[in-house]
Amino acid sequence: MNRKKLQKLTDTLTKNCKHFNKFEVNCLIKLFYNLVGEATERPGAATGLDRNAFRNILHMTFGMTDDMIMDRVFRGFDRDNDGIVSVTEWVHGLSLFLRGSLEEKMKYCFDVFDLNGDGFISKEEMFHMLKNSLLKQPSEEDPDEGIKDLVEITLKKMDYDHDGKLSFADYEKAVREEALLLEAFGPCLPDPKSQMEFEAQVFKDPNDFHDNMNS
């Protein structure tokens, strides 16, 4: 990609992104194209990271492990649902990932947890997301009993309107009261350690950057 195009892309994205400055956007774009690699050059096909590539990044860079959650994160990034994370989606997604406000994050997390997208996190969805969260006790008759109980505990804690499912309002209220519940059903945001490492790696050497820009 030529410099002019890059410059233009950077400018557009910076304008639309409130959490990153121009330099950071530039770094992220470069990183994106590094990750996409040669695939971009293929004409016709949309450029971007497909599900597998993206999941790989989530796993390697942000230490996520839960397949289902990673799929949901991919969905969160892939706004136009075309199966590919484009450079715009990439920068937007990361803006929330790294710098998002609590409100933005709540919205994002809720969407991740709302598996069927009906605006509620139902008991079944919770069960689905929590089903691997407990060590299976071989002694127990019903291995799912613990999970069911955990779902009940969560509902008791977060379901303020007692309708047996979590609305966004329920979720928001619970998170505002106890921030730990933001990622209640599984880690879908980078943990602070990998976030710092990522930022340190990607946003390094502003001087280099200026040199590049000037030369």
Binding site: M129, L181, D191
Partner: protein
């Protein structure tokens, strides 16, 4: 009967198999009772008397067949009863010398026949039939000895209707009654004539020891054995004394009399000749009456002991009873009772020690903790005791592990004592470990918490966070929940979570630990589980909210010494101090994420933790070394109350040590403390006042408080008396500040004196000590003395002279003494009998009180009308004063010398104290380097010279040479007093010679050149006396 025979009867040593009964009065009684029972049986229970025993009672008898009369078939060597059982067997069969008896009727006949030898027969019978019940009723009934008997009996009654077993039952019950009768009879007998033996004596001594120690409330100062070696029989006396029945010798030091050397022998307790000086041998000779036990003896010898004993009598008796119960073999009936008693008593004992601790004199006035302690801990304690009381039977089994733990802890504690000193000791009481009973009715929370802990253990990060959040919904301030978390193993899990990489789990875990660590037991559990080092490490975390939580939890846990030490040893203090170093930018971003928080918050939490930690001496040092003071000083400039309270609290703790006060002064902290006195927050005001109280020991600080305008807010805070803790802090600050004259003037301006007088009544002791202290300082000023008198302050002051709080007494005596300088006030004091009260305080065990009382007496004697007469009217008063010269406390000695100087102004009194041997006692003190004592001693000597041949006597007791050396002191007051004393002494020629020999003339000549006129005069007078003597001798030689 079985029980009584088996356990109580005194069998001879070789008592297994067929033993014989010892001929002791006890056994005799036992046998007589049995005989009476058998004799009456036939009349009382004719039906039962016919019952034939399962097996005959068989023994060797001395009865001759010829003794048997009608109703028996008698041959030469055999006797058969006519009465037979249903199988035709005779109920009595004698074949010399063996006799077999099978019914009570026959037994009772036999007793009748035996007449004089019945005792012997009964003895033989009992000896041969060790378990008569089994023989009479069959082996089923041997269980009668256990206390499950009632159940067995009932069971048998219900299970069979057959008349024979019903009969057996009735007999069993009768025998049981006899048994009980015997037991109670014997018990009464034993308790009357229990003779001392090593066990109870040992227990008595141990018990007294636990009630002894320093302080007002104890019964004795000390009690010790003379020998550490204990023989296997429990005696400590050497074998050649043991043959006289002597068991041990104890040295007892009561509060009010000399050390007593006491012999404990089997006959009783008596005073012996004491230790002989040279070899430490004991003079075994009896020197007094024999008392029945140690307590009676001591009550007789020491008034203080009996007074304090009467206060503690109930407890002591309970203890003693417990011991006695232990001595008597425990039998079924008593078992449960003694068990529960023991339990309660242990509690009591703990409680009692605790009280003692609180009462212990704290001259540094850590009143705050004392208040807290009383208010907060005692009710908790009580409620716990009640709980225990309710479940006595259950706790009996569980008490031993608990005790073991207590023991272990006390070992720990000793260790701690050795390793560091703390400005606060009371706080370190170990709370009794109290676990919930597994089978008790557990609250539903318990099971829910148990489930959550299970998920904590077996869940991944997501499940753990959910469980942690859910756990926070329980009322974690409630003890049931706190202990439930611990008892289901939750603490271990929570602490383990802190060691993981999962920040969210750490935050969640700390949020819970922070809440439950308000519980003293949990604090100890956390330390025991090694939680503190992990938390200290978390202080380095890059996430501020995590740091905050860790610091807050440390603040809660570090409430006791061992915890504080762990924090320090793991470098916690340095890390906490660095938390204080927050960037001072006020425009910080609002909390943007879970892991962020404001720097100010971090600093606040750091200060909070330091506040807790600063209660240990070594931690204060560590805070200073880590550069904590400049940072604290900087934080003090902020205006957040949340921040200021822990900061001032930390400073106040540190200010108890002098070098930190210097650091505080250097950081210009006083200014800000004064500023915060004007805050609205009562707690902040309290801590500021407290810090000023601590710091104002230093003169410059007192001036700083005044210069920064701190006296006015202090004076105005006096008017708010609702918050006693703050009032105590404020009065404390006023007390210390009023040591400076200028401050007193200011206080007068602000009408603080009047307010202080108003606070003399209806206030807790913590406040009174400070109020009286302040008045004592203020009354050094004449104008203030007038104010105090006019406000009616003298009466309440004199009333306080009868208190027992030693710190208070020291201050009250000082204040009364200060008032007595004013003759008009003296009239009031005299009228209120204040002098007598002061005088009786000379008997107070605490030297500070003694000294202060003696100082206060000086102006009283000076200013009272008919002082001489007044002094004489105190029976034994003069002797008491003179005997105080035997004290080894320099301050007491100085004050008593001063009092003697004043007393000796009256010729008659001087004569009396001379008779009491004041001269040798004063002379003995002459070799001292203490300038204060030198001065007052010299004055006393110079006064005492005015009677009879006292001058000569001082010379004889070698007081002159040391006095001459006083002239080399650097203190002019000493010079003046000494010169006057030497002048008086020089009236005696021998003394002149001694002075001359000790080169007094040269020294005195220098004194003549002094600007002090009195000194000049006295020195010159002395020289002239010496010179005159020299001239006289020369004259005599040449004539």
């Amino acid at each position: 009967m079985g029980v009584a025979l088996a356990r109580l009867a005194q069998w001879t040593a070789a008592s297994y198999g067929t033993g014989t009964l010892e001929i002791t009065p006890l056994n005799e009684i036992l046998l007589k009772e049995i005989i009476i029972f058998v004799e009456h049986f036939i009349y009382d229970h004719p039906q039962e008397a016919k019952f034939s025993f399962v097996e005959p009672l068989e023994w060797k008898t001395d009865l001759e067949p010829s003794a048997f009369e009608s109703g028996y078939i008698v041959s030469e060597t055999t006797v058969t009863s006519e009465e037979v059982d249903k199988n035709g067997q005779p109920l009595l069969f004698l074949s010399v010398p063996q006799i077999k008896v099978r019914s009570f009727r026959q037994l009772s006949q036999l007793v009748f026949i035996a007449k004089d030898t019945k005792l012997k027969e009964a003895q033989a019978c009992v000896e041969a039939n060790r378990d008569p019940v089994v023989k009479i009723l069959g082996s089923d009934y041997s269980t009668m000895t256990e206390d499950s008997s009632a159940f067995n009996i009932l069971h048998k009654i219900t299970s069979s209707d057959d008349p024979e077993s019903e009969m057996k039952m009735r007999i069993a019950i009768l025998l049981k009654q006899l048994d009980l009768h015997l037991l109670s009879y014997i018990l009464r007998h034993i308790s009357l004539q229990i003779c001392l033996n090593p066990e109870p004596v040992k227990k008595d001594i141990e018990l007294l020891k636990s009630f002894s120690g320093k302080g007002e409330q104890t019964v004795l100062e000390s009690i010790d054995y003379t020998s550490d070696y204990e023989f296997s029989n429990g005696c400590r006396a050497p074998p050649w004394r043991q043959i006289y029945g002597e068991m041990c010798y104890v040295l007892v030091k009561p509060h009010d009399v000399e050390t007593l050397c006491i012999t404990c022998s089997t006959e009783g307790v008596f005073l012996n000749g004491g230790k002989t000086d040279d070899e430490g041998e004991i003079d075994y000779e009896r020197k007094g009456e024999v008392y029945k036990d140690l307590v009676t003896f001591l009550k007789e010898k020491s008034a203080k002991f009996s007074e304090n004993m009467s206060k503690q009598d109930i407890r002591f008796n309970e203890e003693q009873q417990k011991n006695q119960i232990d001595e008597v073999p425990t039998y079924a009936i008593r078992k449960s009772v003694s068990g529960s008693d023991k339990n309660k008593l242990e509690k009591n004992q703990i409680n009692f020690r605790k009280n003692q601790m609180t009462r212990r004199l704290e001259p540094s006035l850590n009143w705050r903790t004392t208040v807290d302690f009383k208010d907060r801990k005692t009710p908790a304690k009580d409620s716990q005791e009640e709980k225990h009381g309710g479940k006595l039977e259950k706790t009996r089994t569980s008490i031993s592990p608990g005790r073991a733990q207590l023991l272990r802890k006390s070992v720990d504690k000793v260790e701690e004592m050795a390793s560091e000193s703390s400005s606060e000791s009371e706080e370190d009481e170990e709370p009794p470990d109290h676990r919930q009973e597994a089978n008790a009715d557990l609250p539903s929370e318990y099971w829910q918490i148990q489930k959550l802990v299970k998920y904590l253990k077996g869940g991944n990060q997501t499940a753990t966070v959910i469980a942690l959040c859910s756990m926070r919904d329980f009322n974690l301030a409630q003890e049931t929940c706190q202990l439930a978390i611990r008892d289901v193993g939750g603490l271990e899990v929570l602490i383990n979570l802190l060691d993981t990489d999962e920040v969210k789990c750490k935050i969640g875990s700390l949020k819970i630990l922070k809440e439950i660590s308000h519980n003293p037991q949990i604090q100890r559990n956390i330390v025991d589980l090694g939680g503190l080092p992990i938390m200290v490490n978390i202080l380095d975390s890059p996430y501020k909210s995590l740091k905050c939580l860790a610091a807050e939890t440390i603040a809660n846990v570090a409430k006791f010494k061992r915890a504080r030490r762990v924090v320090r040893q793991h470098g916690g203090i340095t890390k906490l101090v660095s938390l204080l170093d927050c960037a001072q930018n006020s425009i910080e971003p609002a909390q943007s994420s879970l892991y962020e928080t404001r720097d100010v918050e971090v600093a606040r939490c750091g200060a909070l933790a330091l506040w807790s930690c600063s209660k240990s001496y070594s931690n204060k040092e560590a805070i200073r070394k880590a550069g904590g003071f400049p940072l604290l000083a900087r934080l003090l400039k902020t205006s957040h109350e949340d921040m200021l309270i822990p900061v001032v609290g930390t400073l106040q703790e540190c200010a108890s040590e002098e070098n930190y006060r210097a650091a505080i002064k250097a950081e210009r902290i006083i200014e800000n403390l004064v500023k915060n006195l004007n805050s609205e927050n009562e707690q902040l005001q309290e801590h500021c006042a407290m810090a000023i109280y601590q710091c104002a020991e230093d003169e410059e600080t007192r001036d700083l408080v005044r210069l920064h305008g701190g006296l006015k807010p202090l004076a105005s805070l006096l008017n708010n008396t609702d918050n006693k803790e703050r009032l105590a802090a404020v009065t404390g600050a006023i007390w210390k500040c009023s040591i400076s004259k200028e401050n007193v003037t200011k206080f007068r301006e602000y009408k603080a004196i009047e307010t202080l007088v108003g606070l003399l009544t209806d206030q807790p002791e913590e406040v009174l000590v400070n109020v009286v202290g302040a008045l004592g300082e203020c009354c050094q000023d004449r104008e203030n003395r007038v104010i105090v008198r006019k406000c009616g302050g003298i009466q309440p002051l004199v009333n306080l002279l009868v208190g027992i709080n030693q710190a208070l007494l020291v201050n009250v005596t000082k204040a009364v003494g200060a008032c007595a300088v004013e003759p008009e006030s003296m009239v009031i004091i005299d009228r209120l009998d204040g002098v007598r009260l002061l005088w009786s305080l000379l008997k107070n065990p605490h030297p500070d009180v003694k000294a202060s009382a003696a100082w206060a007496l000086c102006p009283c004697i000076q200013n009272a009308k008919d002082a001489g007469e007044m002094v004489r009217s105190f029976v034994g008063g003069l002797e008491l004063v003179v005997n105080l010269l035997k004290s080894d406390n320099k301050e007491v000695l100085s004050s008593v010398c001063a009092a003697i100087t004043n007393i000796a102004k009256d010729q008659e009194n001087l004569a009396v104290i001379t008779d009491h041997g004041v001269v040798p006692l004063l002379s003995k003190l002459a070799n001292t380097n203490n300038d204060k004592l030198r001065r007052h001693l010299a004055e006393a000597i110079s006064r005492c010279c005015m009677w009879g041949r006292n001058r000569v006597a001082f010379g004889e007791h070698k007081a002159v040479a040391p006095l001459v050396r006083y002239l080399k002191s650097s203190d002019t007051n000493v010079h003046r007093a000494t010169a006057q004393a030497l002048y008086q002494l020089s009236e005696d020629p021998d003394n002149c010679i001694t002075m001359h020999e000790n080169a007094a003339v040269k020294l005195l000549l220098d004194m003549v050149g002094s600007p002090d006129q009195e000194l000049q005069e006295a020195a010159a007078g002395c020289i002239s006396n010496i010179r005159r003597l020299a001239l006289a001798t020369e004259k005599a030689r040449y004539n």
